[in-house]
């Protein structure tokens, strides 16, 4: 379980402070896949970075906190301060650009063991990783290969293998399928779902693709301008979206035979410019496990 308590994350740039995430309070239960959607600049990546614990200048947590219900190997609770020691042990990460996220001049096997999370017995890790990658549908020679010898799908499988190999309690996947073609995309998503079912851990998936969210996730988190506009069970969110922005995102999914959205741009669809969907911090439960935010009182003022 991860609890975000009135979380506000800011960037200090020059003399200015920009609040990228502002007043997010929510609870992510254990053992579920949570999809995060929202336009570019809505604070998804910043929120993911904060949860992952990758907080470095100029980004900082200006208010609130993150509670992880995870414990480290020595039994102590994981906090924002200690989470770096848990990277790829109890929390791991699948990057967006699988094509360039592996070092081109080092063999894959070596990249499985060159960080502290692997522990000291590198040989045993390598051996187990070899079998593990085999289970993920990768050919046996992968550990001895260089990244350029693998296809994009294979590389992303390696990334997922690396992220899941140490059985972390939480995985953050930042647009894990963006660079892949639809067939490989589906394979990768199925793999991620299978692994999640096996390990019963929590996965946060950032994606712009509402179709991916609908297929893969248990819960949906919709962000807009640094705030959460809607959060709830995926079924419920898709069946009965409460907020206008969520509705718009869902409507953006093309339906066969429906031409009504053709040629309509987002701000026009929202009718009121890019500030039309601004909300107050704080969520209200409209149905069991389905929360929505209230429209901001003065929508015209930038947060």
């Amino acid at each position: 379980m991860i609890r975000l308590n009135d979380l506000k994350i800011s960037y200090r740039i020059g003399g200015r402070t920009i609040d990228a995430v502002d007043g997010v309070t929510l609870t992510i239960p254990d053992g579920c896949i949570v999809g995060i959607a929202g336009e570019s600049g809505s604070g998804k990546s910043t929120l993911m970075k904060a949860i992952y614990g990758d907080i470095q200048h100029p980004m900082y947590i200006s208010r609130g906190s993150i509670d992880y219900d995870l414990s480290a190997a020595d039994g102590r609770p994981v906090t924002t301060e200690t989470i770096r020691q848990e990277w790829f042990k109890t929390i791991s990460y699948v990057p967006q650009s699988s094509m360039n996220s592996l070092n081109p001049v080092i063999r894959i096997g070596k990249q499985f063991t060159d960080f502290p999370g692997t522990g000291s017995n590198k040989r045993r890790v390598l051996e187990k990783a070899r079998t593990y990658l085999g289970k993920l549908g990768l050919p046996p020679g992968v550990m001895e290969s260089y990244p350029h010898q693998l296809s994009g799908g294979m590389r992303q499988r390696v990334m997922i293998g690396l992220a899941t190999f140490f059985q972390p309690g939480l995985i953050i996947a930042d647009e894990p399928t963006t660079a892949l073609d639809v067939v490989v995309q589906k394979e990768i998503l199925m793999l991620l779902m299978e692994l999640q079912e096996e390990m019963n851990n929590t996965i946060l998936v950032v994606s712009h693709d509402m179709g991916v969210h609908y297929q893969v996730t248990h819960k949906m988190l919709i962000m807009y301008a640094g705030r959460v506009v809607e959060y709830g069970d995926t079924e419920s969110v898709f069946a009965d979206p409460q907020h206008a922005y969520t509705k718009m995102l869902i409507d953006s999914l093309p339906t066969i035979g429906d031409d009504s959205m053709r040629g309509v741009i987002a701000s026009a669809a929202g009718a009121g410019g890019d500030r039309a969907f601004r909300v107050e911090p704080g969520l209200f439960e409209v149905k069991p496990n389905h929360f929505v935010a209230r429209a901001a009182a003065n929508a015209g003022v930038l947060a």
């Binding site: 081109p104 001049v105 960080f115």
Partner: protein, 333 residues
């Protein structure tokens, strides 16, 4: 077998480059309107105040043409030239130091030049890359900009100014090193070796400083660009240490263009020899070339040019053979 084919191909290319280079060196002087034998005979004639008979001149001409491989038509000249240069490594005698053979002069001077310049170039490369790597990897830290400043400071100083300044400073004002060093020849003894090393230090230091700045700036720029690569970010998010990321991720990738630069500068080593050896009266190829150029000593120039061609082509071969070891993307093509 891929590796053998690759190596064989490169070596074939290398030999082809050498062959073309030697051919051009053969052709170029023959396109010039001046005949060196005429010039030489004219010189002798004027020295003898015109007392040489025409028979003596004709005899001398045959002798000289034979000596310098100028008899027969162009094709026979070319074949005998190739045979002399490739098989015997013989460029004939020097004009100025007649009858000393050019190949002996070059072979005597070569270890001096190579010993000093290769070592200095290599040290400058290693140091410059290390400093540049740290400056580039930590480019967001203020302290790192001091390292970069070192490069910006050193790079634009012309070599001769740097060399003369250091000579003034370290040999004249503070006489740490000899102003006109002596380099003993003959049988090597430990004392002689020590003396050579000590006397080579000052030219070596100037060469290292001159090459250092460029290497810092170049490596710094490459390292900065590489730290922004997704695989370096990903390594950081895996929790890999700064050392691992700097050496295995940034350095290994930023190194590739720098190896090319090193090999090219090693190939150009004779260019640097001239100034260094003149300023520090160091007995290498540079001095020989200078004397040959001012004295019109064709054979020595031939030899030196051939040597430069061999050096540049060899540097190219070395890059081609080393690169696949560093970059698997080339190895597995």
């Amino acid at each position: 077998m891929g590796v053998l084919r690759y190596v064989a191909k490169r070596i074939g290319l290398y030999l082809a480059v050498l062959f073309i280079g030697l051919t051009i060196t053969f052709m170029l002087p023959r396109l010039m309107p001046i005949n060196p034998v005429d010039g030489y005979i004219g010189q002798l004639q004027s020295r003898a105040n015109g007392t040489l008979t025409s028979e003596a001149i004709a005899e001398m001409r045959t002798n000289l043409e034979q000596l310098y491989g100028l008899n027969g038509n162009v094709f026979t000249q070319y074949v005998s030239y190739l045979k002399r240069v490739v098989v015997d490594f013989d460029f004939g005698p020097s004009f100025t130091y007649y009858p000393q053979p050019v190949s002996a002069m070059i072979l005597n001077a070569l270890p001096w030049t190579l010993g000093l310049l290769l070592t200095a170039t290599f040290i400058a490369w290693v140091l410059g890359n290390m400093v540049g790597l740290v400056a580039g990897y930590f480019h967001k830290k203020r302290a790192a900009s001091i390292l970069e400043f070192l490069g910006i400071l050193l790079y634009p100083i012309p070599y001769y100014i740097l060399a003369i300044t250091l000579l003034l400073l370290l040999a004249y004002i503070f006489p740490v090193f000899p102003l006109s060093p002596t380099f003993p020849v003959g049988q090597m003894t430990p004392e002689k070796l020590g003396m050579i090393f000590y006397n080579s230090l000052l030219p070596g230091i100037t060469l290292v400083l001159a090459g250092f700045g460029w290497n810092i700036l170049s490596m710094k720029a490459l390292a900065v660009a590489t730290t922004e690569e997704p695989y370096v970010t990903y390594a950081r998010l895996k929790g890999a240490s700064n050392w691992t990321r700097m050496m295995r991720y940034v350095f290994r990738n930023a190194l590739l263009p720098q190896v090319t630069a090193l090999a090219l500068s090693l190939g150009m080593v004779f260019n640097g020899a001239l100034l260094t050896e003149m300023i520090f009266s160091y007995p290498g190829i540079g001095l020989i070339m200078r004397t040959a150029a001012t004295g019109g000593d064709y054979n020595v120039l031939y030899g030196a040019i051939t040597l430069s061609i061999i050096a540049v082509a060899t540097a190219g071969l070395v890059i081609d053979l080393i690169y696949p070891l560093l970059d698997p993307r080339i190895r597995h093509k």
